[in-house]
Amino acid sequence: MSLRPLGLHTIVDFYATEARMRPSENLRPRDEKLWQILGQVGRLRSRLNSLAFQHAFFYAAAALIVAGALIYISAFMLTPINFIVVTVTLSILAAFAIVAALRQGWLMRSNARRAATLADERADLKGRLATIVTIAEHRKKGPMWSYLVEDTLGRRAEFAPSRIEKRRISRAIYAFVASLIVAGLVWPLSRIRHAIPMPASQGQDDLTLDLNDLHLRPAGPGDDNAMTVQADPETMRRLEDKLAREGVEPGQGSSTSFGKLMDQARNMANNLQDKLTGQTQNHRRLNLKLADATDPMSGPGNHNPLDAANHKRRDAAGQFQRDQTNDNSGPLPRGSLRDNSSDEPEQAAGRSDLANQQPGANDPNAATKPLDDQGDQQNGDQGSSGGAAHGIGVDPDSLFGAPTQSKLGNEGFEIAIEARPMEHGAKGAGHAYEPPKVRTPLAAVQEPDEPVVRTEVPPDDRTTIKRVFER
């Protein structure tokens, strides 16, 4: 008797042998031989069933992991609507794949007869095992039964489980490993997507535009509506007139069931994306300040600074509006533009145009600089300290990073406006105004969104910019 360490296999083998031998204690020698054959077929059956289970498990797990990984990465890369479409599609495909894998595994399972048939085919036993397994259940076995048992037992080595089915691990494990690799690749890819600088800052929530430059149209289904229009009563009245002239009816955008459905889908996608990306979405409203260049109350000074920067500012606002959904910032930075949402109405009325408050507001060149800087700030990331990913409101020493190397893609520019009635107008006017939901396409003189190309800040200007930020 060979000595071997008392391990788990030894114990299992002992009990398995005991279990196999127990029924044969009272059997005749011929029946013992039959039990030996059936026991070997049983072990083969166990191995086949194990492979079937592994097949189902590995393929189902692989499908689940790949689908999950793709959904996860799409949460970073796709827009909400595309994300929800991709998620639903992948979920359906994954469900089909899992069901197919489970079904195939179920079909692959073996009973004793099937295992015997497989052994007959692979060991070229010409139906000996299948016949034994089948006839063993019958009481009447015929005069040649003993010969069949003896003959088959003599070929015992030919149908050993390790010979009939060499594998203990299903080949489906390759699919499982591949799915893990895919999942492993998705994680760094998602980190890269995290690090891509956003062209607009999440800190800006005020935007001042000239009423004459607004091209109004009804908002479409699924348009973002996180925007509040603020203006002095006269400008609001002019906006009403303009809306009336252009035939835009308030709230006509999402009044349809399809539009509502799209809104719900977008919200759901937003929530899901937030959960997957680990970002808490800040659904703050964007305050759109309207300025009337023709309004004598505003004066030319209100409008002039915007003339030069209007184009870039709208681009930035359009991008900003999209980025609101991915806002991961904590406290809002307060730069050159102030957030009206938390201010008192009286205070808001006094700052119809913050350009007036900037030094050198009347100087077009001077006026564009803060805006350009603001654009730079918008391009920053809150976590980084400079360069293309530098943050807003951080140490002024780290304001200037390397110029942007990559040219960002062109995108269409639209502003969807949902105006809501406010308790007070920009200057404290008491009448409630219910502005329509409009969308402003690009004007003929406007160009598509061209992200601000970062350039090296001239050394002479750095001192000035630093001073602004230190203040």
């Binding site: 010409k126 006839i135 039964w145 010969y147 069949l148 003959d151």
Partner: protein, 347 residues
């Protein structure tokens, strides 16, 4: 007929050894036709009869004669003609004078009373005569003048059919064809075989056949081997397989097919087959497969055994329609197609 002598119960190895010896003795005389000889012997040990189809001069008669010699069994030959009467086969009562001068009717056995009977060109006899032989084949007895006479086992009939010169012949009806376990085809020998035939038959010495059994125990030995064949185990799955094959030969449009639900459908069968195999076909499949299993040293039959005997066991039981004849479709093609379909359905 005398009782069979007591012989030792043969084993599987005995069967294969005896079979191969008989085969070898036959091939001392018969050149080629290896498969035909094997199928013929298989039918003999399976307890059936063989219909041999072959053109003249292919050694049909010689084959049967050699078989009788090799097995040391009594052998008779009947040349069927149009004017052959049933009594010429079965025997008749004749008036014989005894030693004391009395005259009495005495049964004079016909040529069917033997162990191995060759019915040469059976399709030339009238149906009445044919049926007289077929009764002997099926029931191992003949009835003459109201008296039944048992035939001594083993009883093995080999009838030959000449596929040419069909004028003035009486083709065997399907019911009678069904009584033959196998139908074996003898084709023309190839060039090498023909050369060997010339050498062995035109020389001064003829090949001598050595009997495998002693004359006194030959019938008992053959019967013991036939019993061994019956003892081979056929798993229910194999029986189902044979049944599926037979069912698959029956066309769906046949009004005699009661149950339309079947596992295998083949368009070729529906198109060309008028009547499929009878249940005797399934019996022939299993019995032939048992012989094949014993020859392979097994006590159980496998699918391969059934497949190998399918054509000789089923081809002559399938009745083709005119479309098959016009398209040149043979029953062999149908059986091959059916086997393919059944295998595919199993996979």
């Amino acid at each position: 007929m005398s009782e069979l002598a007591a012989v030792e119960v043969p084993t599987v190895a005995d069967f294969a050894r005896t079979f191969r010896r008989i085969q070898a003795e036959i091939h001392k005389v018969i050149v080629g036709h290896g498969q035909a000889v094997e199928e013929m012997l298989a039918a003999l040990f399976a307890g059936g009869h063989v219909l041999i189809e072959g053109v003249p001069g292919t050694g049909k008669t010689t084959l049967v004669k050699t078989l009788g010699l090799a097995m040391n069994l009594s052998f008779n030959r009947i040349q069927f003609t149009v004017d052959l009467m049933p009594a010429d086969i079965t025997g008749t009562r004749v008036i014989l004078s005894s030693d004391d001068g009395r005259r009495e009717f005495t049964f004079q056995p016909g040529p069917v009373f033997c162990h191995i009977l060759l019915g040469d060109e059976i399709n030339r006899a009238t149906p009445k005569t044919q049926s007289a032989l077929l009764e002997a084949m099926a029931e191992l007895q003949v009835t003459v003048a109201g008296v039944t006479h048992r035939l001594a086992p083993p009883y093995f009939v080999m009838a030959t059919l000449n596929p040419i010169e069909m004028e003035g012949t009486y083709p065997l009806p399907e019911a009678q064809l069904d009584r033959f376990l196998f139908k074996v085809r003898l084709s023309y020998p190839d060039e090498i075989e023909l050369t060997r035939i010339i050498t062995s038959t035109t020389g001064p010495e003829e090949a001598g056949v050595e009997p495998v059994f002693h004359a006194d125990e030959a019938p008992a030995r053959v019967e013991a081997l036939k019993k061994l064949v019956r003892d081979v185990i056929a798993a229910p799955e194999m029986e189902h397989y044979a049944a599926r094959i037979v069912r698959a030969t029956q066309p769906q449009n046949s009004r005699y097919v009661a149950d339309e639900a079947r596992s295998v459908h083949d368009e070729m069968v529906n198109r060309y087959v008028m009547f499929g195999s009878s249940p005797r076909g399934a019996q022939a499949l299993i019995l032939g497969a048992k012989v094949r299993a014993l020859l392979d040293g097994r006590a159980n039959i496998a699918r391969e055994d059934i497949d190998r005997v399918a054509i000789p066991a089923l081809a002559h039981r399938i009745m083709l329609n005119y479309a098959a004849h016009s398209d040149g479709i043979d029953a062999t093609h149908v059986v091959e197609r059916v086997l393919k379909s059944v295998r595919a359905a199993r996979a």
